[in-house]
């Protein structure tokens, strides 16, 4: 069998770390993704794009239709594997798919088509730093000297923007929430203090307490949705709502590959929501009324789903996702973190509706939420008609 085509995406040492199969159907998109996402500069959607592009590089498929199908299958596999955190990843996969569908004019030159895609994605990945800098430049104009900024979780774009402003000589101080349960706020704190920016970690529940001391909110996001709202780490929505109550501007930093055609009608309409989140434990006897039947007069939508004890897979799943909790805890003893079983019933991301967002800073410019939705509508129409 001939050698697989040269791996254009990976450096030499990365090549050694992964073994690729020659047959495209055995291409392990998950392990490819894991490799790409290890790079600290690469976010999840870009890593997804890179792994799909790698699939194209590796494959021996010769027809357009089969290629699109293979890409679609790989994307579905990725999304399913990371279903708890899949919004930005889905966004990346969709952007990639849209990109390759829009390249129609390669005709018979299939190899040319493939290498074009591979080159484009590689350039894209290399440019992510560039994109972040463009956004940071735009943001800088909005940061006044001596600003106090509140942020949530860890976003590379946001940290990059703070560092850039700091380098330009602006004096800023930053509050960052702990962002439980994943504790991403600590990473932000680490990076900012290393650069010399005063940064304090506050409790997620202290956001309202701190709001009056803050000049603006600045957050990143997993995805920008079609309504003009955003999907971000859980806690963003309440931060935005409190900011609105206090009349503080909420600025969102989002690269354009994070824009999706999703339109959540509510928190529970997100693809990341499932019946297990916010569910209740069955304590004693089963309910007498058929609370699951769709009869008229049934109590409200989102009524609590009564379940028996947690199934084993859920427990393991929950354990995997969170930093090590105190495993000696039983339900009886005192603990200051929630037990693993309970932790699994909590969401990872939430949806912030557009009415709470002031401006979105993107590589396509500074847009209002209405502007972003107009832009998205235009983009989707253009790609449909092409």
């Amino acid at each position: 069998m001939a050698q697989p085509p040269p791996l254009l995406m990976l450096s030499n040492d990365q090549t050694d770390a992964i073994k690729f199969q020659k047959d495209a159907s055995k291409f392990d998109v998950i392990s490819a993704y894991k490799t790409f996402v290890n790079d600290p500069d690469i976010s999840m959607p870009v890593a997804a794009m890179q792994s799909l592009s790698e699939l194209i590089a590796q494959t021996e498929i010769a027809t357009m239709f089969e290629l699109m199908e293979a890409v679609k299958d790989a994307a579905t596999k990725l999304k399913r594997h990371y279903s708890h955190n899949s919004v930005s990843l889905s966004a990346g996969c969709d952007v990639f798919y849209q990109f390759i569908s829009s390249l129609r004019d390669f005709g018979q030159d299939f190899e040319g088509f493939k290498s074009h895609i591979i080159a484009a994605v590689r350039e894209y990945a290399q440019n992510t730093k560039q994109v972040k800098d463009t956004i940071a430049d735009n943001v800088d104009a909005f940061i006044k000297d001596d600003s106090v900024i509140l942020t949530h979780g860890y976003s590379r774009v946001v940290v990059n923007a703070f560092l850039l402003s700091h380098r330009k000589g602006r004096r800023i101080s930053v509050y960052v929430t702990e962002t439980r349960p994943r504790g991403l706020g600590m990473r932000t704190h680490e990076l900012l203090t290393k650069a010399g920016i005063p940064c304090t970690i506050i409790l997620d529940s202290a956001v309202a307490y701190a709001m009056d001391k803050v000049d603006m909110i600045m957050v990143g996001c997993e995805a920008v949705v079609e309504s003009g709202g955003i999907v971000n780490a859980v806690g963003s929505c309440q931060m935005a709502m409190i900011a609105k109550a206090f009349n503080k501007p909420v600025h969102v930093l989002a690269e354009s590959y994070k824009w999706t055609r999703l339109f959540p009608l509510s928190q529970y309409d997100l693809p990341t929501h499932n019946d297990h989140i916010l569910s209740f434990d069955l304590v004693s006897t089963p309910p007498t009324s058929g609370s699951n039947s769709p009869l008229p007069g049934t109590p409200r939508r989102h009524h609590p789903v009564l379940r028996t004890t947690d199934s084993i897979p859920n427990l393991l799943f929950a354990a995997q996702r969170h930093p090590p909790l105190d495993t000696t805890m039983s339900t009886n003893s005192m603990s200051n973190v929630m037990p693993v079983g309970q932790a699994g019933r909590n969401p990872e991301v939430d949806y912030t509706p557009p009415e709470y967002i002031t401006l979105l800073f993107t590589d396509a410019g500074i847009l209002t939420p209405e502007g972003i939705s107009s832009y998205l509508v235009t983009m989707s129409l253009r790609s449909e008609s092409s």
């Binding site: 079609e226 309504s227 009608l265 699951n292 769709p294 409200r300 557009p354 209405e370 989707s380 129409l381």
Partner: protein
């Protein structure tokens, strides 16, 4: 759906309105002699009218009857001596209508007179809504110069009597009628089809507008039709041109309405979860279609059908849902506040979407949307893009339409109330109480802030972004989508 089905029947006769199935039972009061007397008087009146009035045309617009004819009618009915002059006065024209059906001209005039009288009375009393009060002087199609095709006359009558209601139904019915017109049209000597057909169509459109104000979607489709007519090549043979235009109309209906509805179905169905409680209002062809399709595909949910007077259109939709097996609750709009807490989402239809994202729809829609918003219930408005209008409307007052007074002789929509003794009286019978005037605006405006999402065939769009859509369409087609 039932209103659309009434379109395809092919009779082009001017319908004898007085011969409606619910004809007045008081007919039996007039004896044969009295009827003959009536007939003589009317023949005399007709002769007088023909001498004085305009010459007759085939398939013409009904003209307002000259005064003497009507005066004679009333006089003729009095000697008949029936109690309750109202009953007899309304009786005589009905009987006359039956007799005069063959002559085909005076039918509408008698009826028109009566309604015109009522309208005049009402207009005299109306202090508000004067800018969109009912029909013009003289009744349907009065003062319109030009030949009106029988298909249009029929359609106008159906519109005026509210036999065809709903934006989609009216638009499709109008376009189908226009296809007939185009096929029947013959280009006169020395004129081009492209120029003359447009002129020929204009009075037809005016006639329809005199029956009921132009629906936005209908207006858009007619504008597009006129565009297609205007670009017909002068070299194209007439029949080919006519076939081409009919094909354009078919494409419009197929793409912008029928197929658009299928796509909307897909998008809307994706938002329906099992166990959802969906609230609907009045009747929308799209909403009906979506929910029936979702149920047929296996989704399980329940529906709360909200309805309101005087149209009570929700009953039709309820019947369709029940037929398919969807568990439904039916309530009038005053009960919405009690049930909104149980509702997962609201599905609404639209008559038109304005450029600022506000929705012009059946009166009562705004109420339902506002209440839903207050209770954080998502409001989905399902609408095809052909209903988009470049207008901006800020309230329900500047543009609206009043429901016509139901004619007790012809309409099955008699609105009655009972007094303490249980006797039924006609609420809208203004001849009994000249101080009572009922006003039923047909439409209202829902501000865009109360709408969560617009479900169109191009996807789920937030209301604020709808104007981008129109801009794109215009650029693609190279012509104005709407005024």
């Amino acid at each position: 759906m039932t209103s659309v089905e009434s379109v395809p029947s092919t009779s082009t006769q001017v319908p004898a309105v007085g011969a409606a199935p619910d004809g007045p039972p008081q007919r039996k009061q007039l004896t044969k002699a009295e009827r003959r007397e009536l007939q003589e008087k009317q023949r005399a009146a007709k002769a007088a009218a023909t001498a004085a009035g305009a010459p007759a045309k085939a398939g013409n617009a009904p003209k307002p009857a000259p005064k003497p004819s009507q005066g004679q009618n009333t006089k003729a009915s009095t000697p008949a001596g029936a109690s309750g002059s109202t009953a007899t006065a309304s009786n005589a024209p009905a009987t006359a209508a039956k007799k005069a059906a063959k002559s085909g001209k005076e039918v509408d005039t008698q009826l028109v007179d009566k309604t015109a009288d009522l309208e005049a009375q009402r207009r005299h009393q109306t202090r508000i809504f004067t800018h969109f009060v009912g029909k013009k002087e003289g009744g349907l199609g009065a003062g319109i110069k030009g030949e009106i095709h029988p298909a249009i006359i029929r359609l106008g009558r159906q519109f005026a009597d509210m036999k065809i209601v709903g934006a989609n139904a009216r638009c499709i019915a109008a376009l189908v009628a226009f296809k007939t017109i185009i096929q029947d049209y013959i280009t006169p000597q020395n004129l081009t089809l492209a120029r003359d057909l447009t002129q020929y169509i204009s009075p037809q459109i005016s006639y329809l507008v005199s029956a009921r104000p132009m629906a936005v979607g209908m207006g858009n489709s007619i504008r597009e039709l006129k565009y297609h007519i205007s670009v017909v090549s002068i070299d194209m043979p007439e029949q080919d041109a006519k076939d081409h235009l009919c094909e354009q109309i078919d494409t419009y209906i197929s793409h912008r309405i029928v197929l658009a509805d299928s796509v909307i179905e897909e998008y809307a169905m994706a938002k329906i979860q099992n166990g959802a409680v969906i609230m609907t209002y009045a009747r929308s062809s799209v909403v009906e279609r979506v929910l029936i399709a979702a149920w047929t595909r296996g989704k399980r949910f329940s529906v709360k059908v909200v309805d309101s007077r005087p149209m009570l259109e929700g009953k039709n939709m309820l019947a369709q849902f029940v037929k398919v097996g969807i568990p439904c609750t039916y309530l009038l709009i005053n009960g919405v506040g009690s049930v909104i807490a149980e509702v997962s989402m609201v599905f609404l239809g639209a008559h038109a979407i304005n450029s600022n994202g506000s929705v012009y729809s059946r009166a009562g829609t705004a109420l339902v949307a506002m209440l839903a918003k207050e209770h954080s219930v998502p409001v989905l408005v399902l609408s095809e893009t052909y209903k988009y209008s470049n207008n901006i409307q800020l309230d329900s007052f500047t543009k609206n339409e009043l429901a016509p007074i139901p004619d007790p002789r012809t309409s099955s929509r008699r609105i009655t109330t009972r007094d303490r003794l249980g006797n039924e009286t006609d609420v809208d019978d203004e001849t009994r109480n000249p101080n009572l005037q009922s006003i039923n605006p047909l439409y209202d405006l829902t501000p865009h802030t109360h709408i969560t999402v617009l479900v169109t065939e191009v996807g789920l769009i937030p209301p604020s972004a709808i104007s981008t859509l129109a801009g794109l369409r215009d650029k693609d087609k190279g012509m104005q989508l709407s005024v």
